[in-house]
């Protein structure tokens, strides 16, 4: 069975989420920080008049902080009908993957990383980690 994943990069890894969940991809927007919020909440953004919570996936996945000067990209996904924006390093292609190539998440991932990954797809040149979007957003 073929699955279409939208891919993006985080700290050198390639992640993918189901293309159907992605509403749009934007350039970095100005964010309003939310003091006292969980660390992964990168702030609030204005998406055409809607206030969205921005979640920094690096923080969520326990990856090192994004280096200074690297502007994140924003992937707006719909989870349970509600749009949420995810901060990633850069956007990749949409790839077709075969569910046959699906594997368990590699052991090299951190605990937090493993929890939010449903598994990995072997691409010709690299490993594509499938993000469990619902969980990533819920944290």
């Amino acid at each position: 069975m073929k699955v279409q994943l939208a891919t993006f990069q985080l700290a050198g890894y390639t992640y993918g989420i189901e293309v159907g969940m992605v509403q749009e991809v934007l350039r970095q927007q100005s964010r309003t920080r939310v003091p006292l919020a969980p660390p992964a909440v990168a702030g609030l953004v204005n998406l055409r008049g809607q206030v969205l919570t921005a979640i920094d996936l690096r923080s969520r996945l326990d990856l090192p902080e994004r280096p200074e000067g690297v502007e994140p990209m924003v992937v707006v996904v719909r989870v349970a009908g509600e749009p949420v924006s995810l901060l990633v390093d850069s956007i990749g292609d949409v790839v077709d993957v075969d569910s046959d190539t699906f594997e368990q998440p590699p052991d090299t991932l951190s605990d937090a990383g493993r929890e939010l990954i449903t598994g990995a797809y072997m691409l010709s040149d690299r490993l594509l980690l499938a993000l469990d979007t619902d969980r990533a957003v819920a944290g």
């Binding site: 003091p35 006292l36 204005n46 008049g49 206030v51």
Partner: protein, 785 residues
Amino acid sequence: MDETDEIVHEFLVESHENLDQLDRDFVQLEREPGSRELLASVFRTIHTIKGTSGFLAFSRLESLTHVGENLLARLRDGKIVMTPVIADGLLAMVDAVREILASIEADGSEGEVDVSAVVSHIQILLDGGVPVPVTPTVAELPAPVPEESHAVTAAEAVIEVVLADAVPMPAPTPVAPPTDAAPVPAPAPAATESVAVTPAPVTPAPAAPAPVASAAESSTPESGRRGAADSSIRVDVELLDSLMRQVGELVLSRNQIVRQAGLLDDADLLRAAQHLGLIASELQEGVMKTRMQPIDHIWAKLPRIVRDLGALCHKKVRLEMVGKETELDRTLLEAVKDPLTHLVRNAVDHGLESPEDRVARGKPAEGVLTLKAFHEGGQVVVEVSDDGAGIDTERIRVKAGEKGLLRPDQLAQMNPADLLQLVFAPGFSTAAAVTNVSGRGVGMDVVKTNIEAIGGAIEIESAVGVGTTCRLRIPLTLAIVASLTIECAGDRYAIPQVSLQELVTLDADRAVSQVEDVGGAEVYRLRGQLLPLVRLADVLKVPTERTDGHVVIAVLQADGRRFGLVVDRVLNTEEIVVKPLSSRLKSIGVYSGATILGDGRVALILDVQALAKGALRPGGVEREQVVTDHSDRPDESERVLLVGAGGGREVAIPLSMVTRLEQVSIDRVERVGSREVVQYRGAILPLLRLQQHLGSYGEESPTHLLLVVYTSAGRSIALVVDEVRDIVDGASIRSDIDDAGLTGSAVIRDKVVELLDVRSAILAADPYFFIDGMSSDSLLEGALS
């Protein structure tokens, strides 16, 4: 007259809706002839129309629906069985009802519509006969007209007859009695069928009159007026909500454009932006209006409540209502309904006196309860005032003491306005007795909570003997909120203006001297009242950007508490559109929502209620809490009340020697020989001025005396002090350096405080105080006997 018109109008709208339902029911009934449910539904509809028409004195309509109802009742009860003949009869009745309604709509009267034929027809059915089918008057003329015209013209024609028949056509020869009718419906078989089918779809009443009116515009005088059913439509509130949201967005975009246009030096752009601004404002207003309803909707039932209540409480009440037409948002209206009813009940039950009492006080026997609604500063103000006895704040003081709401020393310091606020405290009720009417557990605290829940505020004013006024301030709408934007650590936040009382800015010098530290928490003395301060930067755990030592305080009130929120900077006031926050962010407990400011950036809206609750508790900033926190400690004897004794002297009185604090007006001070006394709780309370006792000097309070009362074995004395400063833990360092009236001195909070020799002070006020169980009177008696 106006009211009658309105009732008739509502009756028409309602009836048209009901008739539509009726049509659907009849169609359904043809499929399930035996359905009791459908019959019951039809019965109810006709019954409703009958009831209202009787009330409005539309006698023909009433007699018509009356027979129809009888017939339907029998059908419903299964006494007779639905037959096509009966169905025709019912449809004829329904059509006749429509005719009459149309006539009423056109000129307010039943017109010339003749119902006798239909009535007698149904009567025959009722009597079990099988009458010759009557085709309704309507069907007679146009149906057969071979005008090959489309359905619409037929409908138009039909209606036109209805509308016009009052004037040019004295009815198509008031339908001859059933027997005569026999020859007429020559095309009877066809006609009966078409009667059953055609009129139903052809006359969806609400829609029909309009095209007719326009079609017949020149001829009919009604053309200018829209039909009752036309002039209003039912719209899903959801749709209005989403429109409201979108308009909110539009307003925000407008703000952005106006702001940008202001930066560019382009006159055309500026003009266009201003025009856009104007239109957006109007649109916003218009959309808001769609959700608006006059407050009369909830006032309408109050006269009855007041009347019944007055009778129940044996009070004469005249209800006056001013500003019935004042409109506010539908959802808010619903939310205000119960609190308002409660206030009205309260006013009648507790506020107004009995007629005898009123006359005795020189007031007219009849009390006046006034409801007033008006717009003020973007809010709707609703006042409930009575000209009754007013609220005696001294009684509140006593009551609150008895109920243990506050400590006596706190109560003693409260001014009448603050005392009045206590009626909103949970568990407080001034009613001497729990009556049938109020005192059922829904107190003023609930009213206050409900009003605050919708972003409103409640105020109370009262003058003894003159009356009481409760004032509700309600926002016009929930979606748009007037707010103050402030800055803290470089971020902007919005504070709903309804909880904002005032702004205070202290420059560095004044901040140092006027912001005090009480038990590790900061307070500011705002016009003599201690205002606990909450630093927003501390709450949010962000570094403040204020380095110059200035203190900017937004004085906020929520849940009956007042506190000062220290912010970095106050920016401006703005109308904001409230956006929901994800529950995860809401659960932080500091933000109630978010909004988008003029520059497109998101700002968080501070939850003032939550700030008051959360931020004030741990530090115990609020004065009353400082006290209660301390009282939990066992070593009460070690704790002292610090009072000012004139000349900058601070004197400590052991708390064990303080029964309560009182404030009395200087007018109440009387003299017995050389002593000053006041009447206090039915006894004479001797006063001792601490200033004089200790030989210090200071300016005296011109209007009020602050008393520290000590009661023991039924006797009381009061020390008059300049100021009650605080209650603190006892001193660690004591010294025996003393003076007249003192037992020594101590260092309390880095300051030398004199310790009062309470015993000698008491004796100075009342030499017999410690002679147990004996009053000075009995001593005197003993000496005489």
